[in-house]
């Protein structure tokens, strides 16, 4: 009985997590291309609020950290700090080629590479810049893994 109840509560909670992912967006040193594509998600054409996605301003309210751009030496600590401010459970999405691997900035004297060098990344969405459809698809695939 108790086991069944625990399972039901778990199911309800993971349903809620799938249906209400609030995102926080952080650019750790990119060219601003992917950021504009992320803002596209909120426009009438793509409207991710119908999937329950809200763009939050404070990391303490967010569930998913969306990173764009390569990680520079200067932004590394801030990125880590912002990640640690997000309450558990949390997920990280790397959006754009630079965020996935460092992209064209790879090997630069001030570049550490992709986000994976600093944070555990849950899903990579490549593209330069990636299309809004690709970002929505990536987020949907991430949400499917939440059980």
């Amino acid at each position: 009985m108790q086991q069944w109840l625990t399972k039901q509560v778990h199911n309800i909670v993971s349903w809620a997590r799938r249906k209400s992912p609030w995102i926080l967006h952080f650019n750790s040193g990119g060219c601003n291309g992917c950021d504009i594509e992320i803002l596209d998600l909120l426009t009438p054409r793509y409207d991710v609020e119908r999937l329950g996605i809200l763009k939050e301003a404070s990391p303490r309210h967010a569930d998913i950290l969306i990173c764009t751009g390569p990680v520079t030496r200067q932004s590394r600590d801030r990125l880590r700090q912002i990640y640690e401010q997000i309450p558990e459970p949390k997920w990280v999405v790397a959006v754009g080629s630079c965020s996935c691997s460092g992209g064209v900035f790879q090997g630069g004297h001030n570049i550490l590479g992709g986000v994976e060098n600093v944070l555990p990344v849950d899903i990579y969405i490549p593209g330069c810049p990636c299309r809004p459809e690709a970002i929505i698809d990536g987020l949907a695939q991430l949400l499917e893994t939440i059980t």
Binding site: A16, K19, S20, D47, R50, G52, S58, R60, P87
Partner: protein, 306 residues
């Protein structure tokens, strides 16, 4: 019977469902006005459950007890206010002067919001708290004067009697259109809704007082703000739209619901239409325009033989 009133109708469960429904409708209407689709009907419930199940972080330096107690404090205040506001023809608790008690209970969340910002360490929460206090001083005086005029007109400070008086004569919004407009503006300020969302402006102070809260604290804050919306709208329906005092509950409730939805749609349209004011603009507006207008409304009501 009292327990049923407290827990189910028109107590906690009813107000909770109304809050979720109003939040969904509000977001949906705003989305439709912006040519978006908007969230599905279960969205506020999913948000609430998800936030309840999230990790609860208290930043070092913040006052942990205050952070935990303040959302409950404001939730309690607005739920108690909900008990004194008649819904349809259901009057749960009522006495001469309950309008003053409701107004007091509805303004307590402003204090809680300010203290929440004051006791957390963040800079943004501090600015948000200060702004909310300044905003409170700007909208509350015109709001109180606007809400007092129907009470003076009907000669009673009991919400149920004011609504009954208006259902015998005519709507307060028709007799005192100026007071109705001022009350709507005051309600927007009270709820920190869009044109007056100065204390929690995303692009300026992140999330105001609530910046550093997470998990169930933010869930309770959201809930208390939306229950405040529900109770505030119900109050205005009783004071300015004549409430609904039909004999049968099944006629009175839908009429009351339609009037409440009317005010909600009005609030949503206003938040789509207007851009946010600066805090100094609001203080100017409140003291130079709204307060004198409210005073005129009050004097006209008194002279016209209330």
């Amino acid at each position: 019977m009292a327990l049923i009133n407290l827990l189910f109708f028109p107590g906690f469960t009813f107000l909770f469902m109304c809050a979720l429904f109003f939040e969904w409708l509000d977001r949906r209407i705003i989305a439709r006005f912006q040519e978006r689709v908007g969230p599905p009907w279960f969205q506020p419930l999913a948000d609430f459950i998800k936030l309840l199940a999230k990790e609860d972080i208290v930043p070092s330096g913040a006052h942990a007890k205050a952070a935990a107690l303040l959302p409950m404090f404001s939730l309690t205040a607005v739920l108690t206010a909900g008990l004194y506001v008649p819904v349809g023809n259901v009057v749960t608790a009522s006495f001469e002067g309950d309008l003053i008690v409701v107004l007091f209970l509805l303004s307590l969340p402003a204090l809680g919001y300010f203290l929440a910002g004051w006791t957390s360490v963040g800079v943004y929460s501090l600015i948000g708290g200060h702004r909310s206090l300044l905003q409170y001083f700007s909208y509350e005086v015109p709001f109180l004067m606007a809400v007092a005029s129907p009470a003076i007109l009907s000669g009673s400070w009991r919400i149920a009697s004011i609504a009954a008086y208006q259902s015998q004569t005519t709507w307060g919004a028709l007799m005192q259109p100026l007071g109705f407009i001022l009350a709507i503006i005051g309600l927007i300020g009270k709820l920190k809704r869009d044109p007056l969302d100065i204390p929690k402006a995303k692009s300026e102070v992140v999330a105001g007082s609530l910046t550093d809260f997470s998990g169930r604290k933010i869930a309770l804050w959201h809930l208390s703000i939306y229950i405040q919306t529900v109770v505030g709208i119900f109050l205005l329906v009783n004071l300015f739209l004549g409430g609904s005092s039909h004999q049968s509950l099944f006629v009175a409730l839908p009429i009351f619901g339609l009037k409440a939805l009317g005010i909600l749609i009005l609030l949503s349209m206003i938040s789509v239409l207007y851009a946010r004011l600066r805090i100094d603009q609001l203080a100017n507006l409140g003291w130079r325009v709204l307060a004198p207008l409210a005073l005129i409304q009050l004097l006209v009501t008194i002279w016209s033989g209330g």
